[in-house]
Structures are given as C-alpha cells and as structure tokens.
C-alpha cells in the first residue's frame, strides 16, 4: 500500500509540476540540505527538553497518581468487604433473634393453650361428675318414690277394698287375706305397667 501511495504521489506530483503555472523549484524540499542542520538542532533541543521535562516532572506525578488511586481503590474495596462481612454477621444475628423469639412465642402459646385445655377438661370432668351424682340422686329419689307410691297405693287399695266389702256384705273380713290378694293383683298390674 505504501508503494502504491508513493507511486501515486509521484505520478500526481509530476503532473502537477508540469501543469503548475508557477512552477518554482520542482522536486522535494525534504532533500534540500539547506536547513538540515537547523532542523536537527531544533529537533534535538525541543525533543530533549520535552523528554527531560516529561521524565523528571510530569510522568512521575502521573504514575504516582495512578498508584495512589490504585491503592486507595484497593483499600476501599477491603473496607467495603469488611463491612459487608459485618453486615452479614449482623443479619445472621438478627435472623437468629427472630427465630428464637418465634420459637419462644410458639412455646408460650402452646403451654397456655395446654393450660386452658386442661382447665376446660378438669371443669368438664367435675361438671360431669356432679351431673352424674345428681342423676344418681334423682334416680334414687325416683326409685324411693316408686316404692313408697306402690305401698301407699296398696294400702289405699286394701282400705278401699275392705270398705267396699264391708258395705257390700256388712261384715269385716280378715285384713291379711285381703292385703295378700291386693298385693298379688297390684304386682301383676305393676308388672304390666312397668312393661316387664
């Protein structure tokens, strides 16, 4: 590509040097040694000064800046890492505390519930006992009543039947035989009544 460019340039410059109205000195000014020494002198001077100033004053500062920035960044990363670890620790602690409290709350809740349930159970049991007692008492009373009522009924029946017999036949009958008959009848009647 370089050759091509140079060739093109040569061709074009030839055309132009011919066609130029003001064809001054043709050729390349680069090959005119008139100012070579001056160019070398000024190149050495400017480039030398540039090199000295850059290497003595400017580049150390830039490299220093880069170094300090690097170390600062590393430091910052380190502290950030430390802080992150601390935060993780704290978060773990926090989680632990929360878990503990949750467990405690559950325990308290459970124990309270158990207590309440026990209480309810006890009360129910005692209530049931009471009720049972009452029932037994009532049954006993009923039985008592049944018995007494039967005796009374038999008595009444004997008296009424003796009265009836007296009025019918005008004579007293042996009470014991009467009561035996009445008892026998009433027993039969009672058995029929009680559904045995």
């Amino acid at each position: 590509m370089l050759k091509k460019i140079i060739f093109q340039f040569l061709a074009l410059s030839l055309i132009f040097t011919y066609s130029a109205q003001s064809a001054e000195s043709g050729g390349m000014p680069q090959l005119n040694p008139e100012f070579w020494i001056s160019q070398i002198f000024w190149l050495v001077l400017t480039f030398g000064l540039l090199f000295i100033i850059l290497s003595k004053f400017i580049l150390p500062k830039i490299s220093n800046n880069l170094e300090t920035r690097k170390s600062q960044i590393l430091e910052n990363i380190e502290t950030a890492d430390k802080q992150r670890q601390e935060t993780e620790k704290k978060v773990k602690e926090f989680d632990k505390i929360i878990n503990d409290t949750k467990v405690e709350a559950k325990n308290i809740f459970n124990s309270e519930r158990q207590k309440v349930l026990d209480d309810i159970n006890n009360k129910r049991l005692s209530l049931e006992k009471d009720i049972e007692k009452e029932i037994i008492k009532a049954e006993e009373e009923i039985d008592q009543l049944k018995k007494t009522s039967q005796e009374k009924v038999t008595k009444i029946a004997i008296e009424t039947s003796s009265d009836l017999v007296k009025q019918l036949i005008g004579e007293d009958i042996n009470k014991s035989s009467l009561s035996a008959i009445v008892e026998d009848l009433s027993k039969k009647e009672m058995e029929k009544h009680n559904g045995i």
Binding site: L2, I5, I6, Q8, F9, L12, S13, F16, T17, S19, A20, Q21, S22, A23, E24, G26, G27, M28, P29, Q30, L31, N32, E34, F35, W36, I37, S38, Q39, I40, F41, W42, L43, V44, T46, F47, L49, L50, F51, I53, L54, S55, F57, I58, L59, K61, I62, S63, N65, L66, T68, R69, Q72
Partner: protein, 243 residues
C-alpha cells in the same frame, strides 16, 4: 503557490539568521512546529497531573495515554523495558503531536521531513545497539545468528540478519516520512483539483479530500503508534536476547 503540492514542505526562516561557527541553526517553520508540539504536550500533560481521586477530562486523557503506552511497552518488551518508558512515551507523543499538528491547514508537518525522522530513528538505532552491547557484551552479536539454522545456510543468514539490522533506522524513518509526505501531498493534490475543476466538477475531489482528511488523521495516529511499537520491538531485541 497553491498549485505546487510540494510547496507545503518548504522550510523557511522565521526571524533572523542564527549562525554558530558558520553553521546555520536559524529558527524555521519546522522549528516553530516542533516547539508548538512540545509545548502542547507539556501543557496537556501538566494539566493532567492534578492530584484527585476522580480524574477530570484532561487528567483522564493523560492517565489513559500513560497506561496505554505502559501496556504497549510491557506487552512488547517486557518488564525490563520499564526504565525506557519515559523515552518511548516522549517519542510517541512527539511524533503523534507533530503528525496531528500537521493536519491543521496551512500548518507544517515536522515528521514529513526525512531528516527529522532519520535523526529520531538513528538515535533509537544507536541507543538500542549500545543498550544491547551493555546488557550482553559481545553476546549481543548472537542476534545475528538465529538458533536452529543449518550450518550451510548460516553465512547467508548472518549476512541477511546484519543487513536487516542495519536497515532498521532507514526503514523506520522512511516509513514515517513517506506516509506523512504522501498523505499530505495527496490532500494538496485533491485540494488543487477542487480549485481547478471549480463549482461544477469540484465536488468529487472535495469528497475525496474530506475522506482523505479522516484517513490522514488515522494514519497520523497509526504511524506514531508504529514508530513507538517498533522502537519497543528493537528494545526488546536488545533487552531479552532470544532471537
């Protein structure tokens, strides 16, 4: 003046003639642009040395260039080339700024003169050779004897190696000089076409001119980079002798 595309490379005296022992070292337009480039580098990089953790734009520029060149050197020449960092940095910046200032219309391109690039390249060549001999003594001559070459071919190879070594300053200087000169001449020629073809036909060369300007800015950077990286490669040969 506009018609001759080579006119832009003329060197002329600015101010009085300065002579020391009959040697003309007058201040010329070339000298002016060398001074301008150096001053620009110094100003920009001096502004970039502010001590702040978060850099501003100029500081960022300076620090990015620093790490760019530092990386380039360590990639090509290894860690042993650290002491030569300032020189390569100055060299790259000087060539880059001279090339870039040359892209401003009516300015002068310092690096389009073979004598300037040749002096730089010759200085590098001599310096690298001296460094090589200091580091390795006469062992530096092993550079011309590649390992693993059959004995029969060795004389030929050694001659070729010596020629290629000696042609380094020429190839280095001519590469930069020819690129800059050719590019600037092309731009001048297309500019001349714009003028001579006028309002009717001048648009095509104008477009070319615009495109060439972009290309030339790229070339200006690229050639400075190539100049610096070749210096690094030569330095690598001198520092780590493993040819």
């Amino acid at each position: 003046m506009a018609a001759n595309p080579m006119y832009q490379f003329n060197v002329y005296r600015i101010g009085p003639e300065i002579k020391i022992n009959n040697i003309d070292i007058s201040f010329t337009n070339a000298s002016l642009f060398m001074v301008i480039s150096s001053l620009a580098i110094l100003i920009i990089f001096n502004l970039g040395t502010k001590r702040s953790i978060i850099p501003n734009k100029i500081q960022l520029l300076a620090e990015l260039s620093y790490s760019f060149i530092s990386k380039m050197i360590s990639d090509t020449a290894g860690s042993k080339a650290k002491p030569y960092f300032s020189f390569i940095f100055s060299l790259f910046m000087f060539v880059l700024f001279c090339n870039m200032f040359g892209m401003i219309p009516y300015s002068f391109t310092v690096t389009s003169h073979i004598i300037v690039t040749f002096v730089l390249a010759a200085f590098i060549f001599v310096g690298v050779t001296i460094i090589g001999f200091i580091k390795h003594g006469l062992g530096y001559l092993k550079l011309f004897v590649p390992s693993g070459v059959p004995m029969v071919l060795l004389p030929l190879i050694v001659v070729i190696e010596i020629i290629s070594y000696l042609s380094r300053p020429i190839s280095l200087s001519v590469r930069l000089f020819a690129n800059m000169m050719a590019g600037h001449t092309m731009m001048k020629v297309f500019g001349g076409f714009v003028v001579s073809l006028g309002i009717v036909g001048g648009w095509l060369p104008l477009g070319f001119s615009v495109a060439l300007t972009g290309l030339e800015i790229l070339v200006a950077f690229l050639q400075a980079y190539v100049f610096a990286i070749l210096t690094c490669i030569y330095l690598n040969d001198a520092l780590n002798l493993h040819h």
